[in-house]
């Protein structure tokens, strides 16, 4: 059955939809966790520490966190590989373009592919910045609150982050709705609600994620 799914364009889209929804679920939790920054350094750092002790004593220190990381890595890889293969098929299926061009699909629809690439690059930078702290000058391990302030104390940190968060909003606006259709949830009566849910999710995530750098820039969080 795995073979049937991976070899079919409809099946591969199912893989994209499910892996996308897994990442979306994570992002909602991640965004809500980020908002803890508004309650001060102690609460934010305490929350970051709790993520590592999650599941103890049944699990060892950081085991739950690593479980989530492995799951997310699998989701990212499956999402990207299926997106690449499906895009190649789509481009091959329309070898010559129309002389009379009309641009009618929405901005979110047209930017899914490059928006996805931008998000992929952002994830790499984001991990180097706030997980491994490789590119974050003035960062100290074990002080996530201070490290967030360090990132958003630089103009490029803010710029990269805000561009990525906007790209995320557009990606989810079309992606959530598409995933619902791919999984067969869509119908004439449900599509309006699904589109509204996609817009609401995209807006909530964009505003929620963007609120942190904006708060640091305006001095609300310091």
């Amino acid at each position: 059955m795995a073979r049937i799914i991976w070899d079919s364009s409809v099946g591969k889209k199912t893989v994209m939809a499910v892996s996308g929804l897994v990442m979306l679920l994570y992002l909602v939790a991640h965004m809500l966790g980020n908002l803890k920054i508004f309650f001060g350094a102690d609460e934010f750092n305490g929350y970051a520490h709790w993520l590592r002790t999650l599941g103890e004593p049944a699990l060892h220190y950081e085991w739950a966190l690593w479980g989530v990381r492995v799951g997310l890595l699998a989701a990212v890889v499956l999402h990207a590989v299926s997106a690449y293969q499906l895009s190649r098929r789509d481009i091959k299926a329309r070898p010559s373009t129309y002389v009379h061009k009309r641009l009618r699909t929405s901005y979110a629809t047209r930017t899914m592919r490059w928006g996805g690439v931008i998000l992929g690059l952002f994830i790499v930078w984001h991990l180097l910045d706030l997980t491994t702290l490789t590119v974050n000058e003035n960062a100290q391990p074990g002080h996530p609150y201070e490290n967030v302030l360090a990132t958003f104390g630089t103009w490029y940190g803010n710029a990269i982050y805000l561009v990525a968060v906007l790209a995320l909003g557009f990606h989810i606006r079309h992606g959530f709705w598409s995933a619902a259709q791919t999984l067969g949830v869509g119908s004439a009566t449900r599509d309006r609600a699904l589109k509204a849910a996609a817009t609401a999710l995209a807006l909530a995530l964009t505003v929620g994620f963007a609120s942190v750098p904006v708060a640091v820039m305006t001095g609300w969080v310091s």
Binding site: M1, K92, A93, Y98, H100, K101, Q181, G184, A188
Partner: protein, 249 residues
């Protein structure tokens, strides 16, 4: 009406094509788009030039043979087939671009004529339905709920013209295939082959080199018969169900 036409001319499948410009005069707003092209072709024949090849058959909007992309729209600016489009939809002095359906699975045969036999092979892949021949069955033997009958009829309206593929940025045949799958899969007569039908038709669609669906929605906008976009979700639902129920590995 006097019009400038820019028409795709391509001598054969492997030849390079270009847009050629023609002037036509004396066009009545009551002419159909195809009659306007007939006028152009009469001029071309009188001048000793090769007439423009284009597909047409019933000219009543029911056969699905006509296939022109007019100013970037499959079947032109009205939501109908090209043969039912009239010149009153254009203004005197307009320049009109006329191109063939463009998709890898629809190779150009000549000028504006494309080979749509990939659609026939998708239909063939759907196989048969288990309906006994011989005397007519008793009318009430197989009840069909009214909503199911409506759903089947809505999808049976597909005339297989290929406008969905022409309009899709990915050259995808998902709307066409979904119309054919949904039409039979919702009915009791189509139930015995429900799983194999959707798996085989989607498989053939992929094998023909059609693209995948990215939910751009262009297909449903172009469809002259109004096959709705949620049909694709309905087929995806059928496909996922079939992968769980299929007796093949």
């Amino acid at each position: 009406m006097r019009l400038t036409l820019r028409v795709w001319r391509q001598r054969h499948t492997d030849a390079d094509g270009t847009m050629s410009t023609y002037e036509v005069d004396g066009i009545s707003p009551d002419m159909s788009f195809l009659e306007m092209l007939d006028t152009l072709n009469e001029d071309l024949i009188l001048r000793g030039e090769d007439p423009v090849a284009f597909d047409h058959d019933c000219r009543e909007g029911i056969c699905g043979a006509c296939s022109l992309v007019i100013n970037g729209d499959a079947h032109g600016p009205e939501r109908t087939t090209t043969c039912q489009l009239h010149m009153r939809s254009f203004k005197d002095g307009d320049t009109i671009d006329i191109e063939p359906w463009r998709a890898a699975a629809f190779p150009v045969v000549k000028d504006l004529v494309v080979d749509r036999s990939s659609f026939d092979r998708i239909i063939q892949a759907g196989g048969y339905i288990s309906v006994p021949t011989g005397s007519a069955p008793e009318a009430h033997a197989t009840p069909v709920p009214k909503p199911d009958a409506d759903f089947a009829f809505e999808h049976a309206e597909c005339i297989g013209c290929g406008a969905c593929v022409a309009a899709c940025p990915n050259g995808s045949a998902m709307l066409f295939t979904s119309a054919k799958v949904n039409h039979l899969n919702v009915l009791p007569q189509g139930a015995p082959e429900r799983e194999t039908r959707v798996l085989d038709m989607v498989g053939q669609m992929d094998a023909e080199g059609f693209g995948g669906c990215t939910l751009a929605g262009e297909c449903a906008t172009a469809c002259p018969k109004g096959i709705p976009l949620p049909s694709i979700a309905a087929m995806n639902r059928e496909w996922l169900r079939a992968t769980r129920h299929s007796r093949r590995g």
